[in-house]
């Protein structure tokens, strides 16, 4: 068998060797162990009992925990000595929280694929999936089954370990970032006091997974896509963080539940108070998410699928799921940070908070789908310029304004209606002026580039006619 022949033939599907499986298992176990260890410390609560408590997952969970504690007190077990007094209630709380988040994401992912495709179908005057099950509801299941059945191919020359890892590790930040989201008062899985920082830190891990996926594929499209992703993600992390910083400044806390509580207390959504931060955050998030108009990392018409070009089967499915999960997460965070989270001007007394949050996140998610159904895509350099020349200076300006306001708020005890109302007006004015004037300052002219209508003529001719009409360039 000569070498020319071998070149032409495709290698059969990657057979994962034993050594690789062991290494993979070790890695997976390592990550599990890290998670478990962190989780243990978190649920341990030993670090002063209230640091990383599982806050109540609603009253039912609270009730359950009280009863479990009572049982614990009645029947001392040998475990009390080594893992702390109230281990049962902690363990059950943690389990319930984790299962709750997991099942929410799992269910939401299945539902979202259907919803998104139906919505986009409607926007594109077609029906969307309507064949599998009633109204095509089982389409996501069918897709998942198909993806699982598909052969997993590995390109020649791919870095085998690093190729197999990213689909798994990219899942971790997506799941972990759901921890601090407050679903209702006293209902957050991981209500840590540095919640905002935690979110930024965890989501920055995605970058590396994406890069490794693209690099290990040994494919130019994948590498281009991953380099684009990395460049874009780190650029847009800056305005995103600054936007969140202004939120933190005004509410005086990095804890997500406190931020929501602040909005509930003041009966004011931060979207109204901080328009620049809201828009910056939303736009930067679409960049982090690789969604239109910022989906250059997986720009279909240019680089096929970007960093996951070479992934097939369920590995691709994982990337897809993470993408959707992240979109949902961003919608949730927008709802939490800027749309008042579980609060709805007192209505949260009557409606469960998580339903309110779900309604808000659906609205935010709809905007994401809408963008995807409507807009073309920016170019990489345009996006980078937009981040560095426009969003970052704007959000820095905004930060200064908000800092002044925050310090005023701390010293001035005017009624909230006056001070916050004033700040709202000031911020909207600043937003209007900044958005418009800064764009002009960096050279944006809305009418540049000539007329936007084709010239109509009855003449026929070549270059002379073109010169006569003044259309020759």
């Amino acid at each position: 068998m000569n070498s020319t022949l071998r070149q032409g033939r495709r290698r059969p599907a990657a057979k994962v060797p034993l050594g690789l499986m062991i290494v993979g298992a070790v890695f997976a176990l390592g990550f599990l162990a890290v998670n478990a260890a962190i989780g243990y410390v978190v649920i341990d609560g030993r670090l002063d009992g209230q640091w990383y408590d599982i806050r109540d997952l609603g009253i039912a969970v609270e009730e359950l925990k009280v009863q479990l504690d009572a049982i614990n007190d009645d029947q001392p077990s040998f475990l009390d000595d080594i893992v702390g007094q109230h281990w049962m209630s902690y363990a059950v709380g943690a389990l319930l929280g984790a299962i709750g988040i997991l099942s929410f994401i799992g269910g939401a992912l299945l539902a979202l694929i259907w919803i998104e495709r139906r919505l986009i179908g409607r926007m594109q005057i077609r029906r969307g999936p309507n064949r599998v099950g009633p109204y095509g509801l089982l389409q996501p299941v069918a897709d998942a089954v198909k993806l699982i059945q598909k052969e997993v191919l590995m390109p020649d020359g791919a870095d085998r370990i690093l190729f197999l890892l990213p689909p798994a590790i990219i899942f971790v930040p997506m799941m972990a970032a759901w921890g601090p989201v407050p679903w209702a008062p006293q209902m957050a899985y991981l209500d840590i006091n540095v919640g905002v920082l935690y979110l930024i830190a965890v989501s920055s891990l995605t970058t590396l997974a994406v890069f490794l996926a693209g690099w290990a594929s040994n494919n130019h499209y994948a590498l281009l896509g991953s380099m684009r992703t990395v460049a874009m993600m780190i650029s847009y992390e800056i305005p995103l963080s600054i936007a969140l910083l202004s939120v933190v400044l005004i509410t005086g806390s990095m804890q997500l539940s406190e931020i929501v509580q602040w909005q509930a207390d003041h009966n004011l959504w931060l979207a109204a108070l901080l328009p620049i931060a809201m828009l910056t955050y939303f736009f930067s998030s679409t960049a982090e998410l690789n969604r239109t108009p910022n989906d250059i990392a997986e720009a279909e018409s240019e680089i096929v699928a970007g960093f996951h070009t070479e992934y097939s089967g369920m590995k691709f499915g994982l990337f897809y799921a993470v993408e959707l999960g992240n979109a949902l997460l961003v919608a949730t965070l927008v709802a939490t940070f800027f749309l008042g989270g579980w609060s709805l001007f007192g209505l949260e007394e009557w409606i469960p908070g998580y339903l309110i949050l779900f309604a808000k996140l659906s609205a935010a998610y709809f905007v994401l789908v809408w963008l995807r159904g409507t807009l073309p895509r920016f170019r990489l350099d345009q996006l980078m310029r937009f981040a560095w020349q426009y969003l970052i200076p704007l959000s820095l300006f905004n930060l200064i304004i908000v800092a002044v306001e925050a310090s005023l708020l701390a010293r001035w005890d005017a009624p909230g209606l006056v001070s916050l109302g004033l700040f709202t007006i000031v911020n909207w004015g600043a937003a209007y002026i900044l958005f418009r004037d800064w764009a002009r300052r960096i050279g944006y002219q809305p009418d540049a580039g000539g007329p936007r209508r084709a010239e109509l003529t009855q003449q026929v001719g070549g270059i002379e006619a073109a010169h006569r009409m003044g259309t020759a360039t």
Binding site: N2, T4, L5, Q7, G8, R9, V460, G461, G462, I463, E464, A465
Partner: protein
């Protein structure tokens, strides 16, 4: 008789052309003017530059295999004057025909000459990138030639894409 509605008669063009470039015109009919193959580039350049002829665009270039010779047909047009000129060059050599490329005058000849080379086998000397276009390098013969199907070992079994070796069956 079957001339385009805006076509200049070959005789008009021929008289103007031979006045400017003596000896360039081989023959002329009502439809076309036939130019000496060696002088085709000069003739085309003159037609392109001349204010009366003003043939700024090469609208079509193709070749006809007349069994013993090749006719290369240039359809030129002037947009400002709104007329069409048909120029032909006859290449007598049938085994290894060659003609000067008109790429220096008309950039639009880039792909059209390549196509003619690919399918008829006329080498355009001076063409910047003369390679096979539709067929792969090493394809035997030129399929639009009239004698293509008579070439031995062609039919059947046009052999092989480049990475296949003779005698080996691709799986």
């Amino acid at each position: 008789m079957p001339a385009g509605p805006r076509q200049l008669t070959g005789d008009t063009v021929a008289s103007a052309l031979s006045a400017a470039l003596p000896g360039a015109v081989a023959t002329a009919t009502a439809e076309w003017v036939e130019v000496e193959p060696a002088r085709i580039l000069d003739a085309l350049r003159w037609l392109h530059d001349d204010a009366e002829m003003d043939a700024k665009q090469l609208s079509n270039l193709c070749a006809v295999d007349r069994h013993d010779r090749f006719e290369v047909v240039y359809h030129l047009q002037s947009m400002d004057r709104n007329h069409q000129i048909v120029v032909k060059a006859v290449v007598g050599e049938h085994d290894d025909p060659a003609l000067p490329s008109c790429y220096p005058v008309y950039k639009g000849a880039l792909l059209q000459e390549r196509e003619v080379y690919d399918l008829m086998g006329i080498r355009f000397e001076g063409h910047p990138d003369l390679r096979r276009m539709f067929l792969w390098e090493g394809y035997p013969g030129f399929p639009l030639r009239k004698d293509f199907l008579q070439i031995p070992d062609h039919h059947p079994g046009l052999p092989k894409f480049p990475f296949e070796e003779p005698g080996v069956q691709a799986r």
